[in-house]
Amino acid sequence: MEMYSQAAWLIPLFPLAAFLVLTALGRSFRRAGVLIGTLGSLAAFVLSLFIVIDRLDANTVDYNYAFDWMKIGDYTLRIGFEVTNLTAMMLVVVTLVSFLVNVYSAGYMKNDERITVFYGYVSLFTFSMLGLVLSDNLLSLYIFWELVGVCSFLLVGFWYAKPKARAAAKKAFIVTRIGDAGLLLGILLLFWYMPGHALDFTTIQSVFDGQSGAITTGITTLIALLIFLGAVGKSGQFPLHVWLPDAMEGPTPISALIHAATMVAAGVFLIARTYDIFQDSAAAMETVAYIGGFTAIFAATIALAQNDIKRILAYSTVSQLGYMMMALGLGSLTGGVFHLFTHAFFKALLFLGAGSIIHAVHTQNIHEMGGLGAKMKVTAWTFAIGALALSGIPPLSGFWSKDMILTAAFETNPLLFFVGLAAAFCTALYMSRLFFLVFTGKPGAASSGAQESPVTMTLPLVVLAVPAVAAGFVETPWNGWFGSWLSGEAEAAHGSGVAIVASIAVGLLGIYVGWLVYGKGSVSRTALADRVPWLVKLLERSYYVDELYAVFVVKPLKLLGAILIVIDEYVIGGLVRLTGIATVSAGRLAARLQNGQVQTYSLAAVIGFVIIVIALVGRRFLP
């Protein structure tokens, strides 16, 4: 029955093998390199597909295998893999996007001299991401968690000669590292509180069942919040979202793979995986919901004022990840994971489409584009599908998942429902702005020589467009198949007419406003900027969060470092010098006795002799 699931450990090994071969190849064998990388991910994809098909049967049980990694005294740290329906779904998403990005990069990175290195990194990333997905306990998840972070860092900084890329790579690593430190602490806490020091998800599930009471609520909340901190870093939630827009310095296929579809969703995946802990703590759930909701609206408004096509999409990703977090926080596991699932496809599609545009016009500024729709038909149509899916227009996939989240919010938390609606409106607005500015209207400064990208690049777009349209039908208000498959228990039919209508309405409204301003041009584009310039400025500069970090974190740290340098040099270094001076002066003093005069020497000898005699004689008189 679980024949394929048992072989799941093979999946990450394909890309790992590809990585090893590619590293050994170095920079030579460019064509072979591309082929090896693509084949590795293809093999992984095929096997993942088999596993999912195998598991579609409702009666499949989870398959788990683990071995001892380290045995230290009474403590054992284990590593293993586990296949559940959730991981199986993630496997397919990761391997499919990875495979398509591999194909796409053959065209996009064609002229890069380090294309073999690029494929090596991508393979390493795919391996790590698959390892993360398959991990059966928090420790091995953490290990792969860090590894994907490093791959992301390497790929963001792939064009290392650009100082901006270097800064972005550094930022991506360090900011996510803050979250990682939280996750690590959470793991430490969990290790000492779990019975038997077990870290595997099965045990976590049984301990945090809401009634055993083995762990107090306070500690549960703390653990959940620390784990959430890790997710905040990785999934670019406020206030650790700052690295994600900067990470767009990396090659665009990477933005699609890592910073849209897979790695940034790892935070959502992590919470879904440890959902039992969160469910035990109302406070943690609320935190997740509010942070997610705030991030959703916060990033969506920023995206309205950006001019770089990739930054718009990046903020959009942040916002959509906020949506997922909000869903999880509101108690809708299915909603969060479902949105992760659909978002992976249409956001990867949008990024790859953006890559196709950038490939054609060699700029990322949307104001320099325009009128590209006629020249790049495939790109334009697929991009439109992606944009509509993202805006939540039925019957595309994004609509169903977004609707599910909004329904959950509508039923439990009206405030977040309105936040979600506002974010949905902004989403539709910035996507229509982007679309109309790029594809319609007069040709811009950069779009004169543009032409459609090669088939290696358009084919993945077309392939991704299919799930972007259809993936939503696995879970509709009248069909809860996905949810019951995921959680193993049939969920009651859900859906609320109000939420559906409202969601469609704000989506259409957003597109309409966008069309009025940027398509038809009946409303002046600068109307808002003229009236409230500070607001536009605020949005353009992303609420000055980077600057705030610079003032409140970076500067004080640098200052502290500078102060400590002075202390180290003069106070502690002074201690060393004092020792030196003391020794040298003692030596000088002793050297004075050494005057070369025989008479002085013999005088010293006589004095010494006298002292010895006195001592020897005097000892008798002592008691």
Partner: protein
């Protein structure tokens, strides 16, 4: 009787020691050394006569010492001559070659 001999010898030795340590003129230092040696000789002879086991050994030994002292004085004066030729002085303060 023995204590008075020993006292004289001790006084002689101390004068010699004082001279050897304090005097600036190298010749006087040399002579002071002789004084110390003679104090020792005096002791040897005194012990050979009034000691616990009186015997001739002490007297003969002092003859040896006198011989050695003579040789030593000769060598000492010769070294002083050489030094005087080299440095043009017999002031021991200026003989501080050992310092370097």
């Amino acid at each position: 009787m023995l204590p008075s001999y020993l006292t004289v010898a001790a006084i002689l030795f101390c004068i010699g020691l004082y001279g050897a340590l304090v005097k600036r003129n190298a010749i006087i230092v040399l002579l002071s050394l002789e004084l110390m040696l003679n104090a020792v000789n005096l002791n040897l002879v005194a012990f050979s006569k009034y000691g616990v086991v009186p015997s001739l050994t002490g007297q003969i030994f002092s003859l040896f010492t006198i011989t050695v002292a003579a040789a030593e004085a000769a060598i000492g004066v010769a070294i002083l001559f050489a030094l005087f030729r080299l440095r043009g002085t017999v002031n021991v303060d200026e003989f501080d070659k050992m310092r370097r």
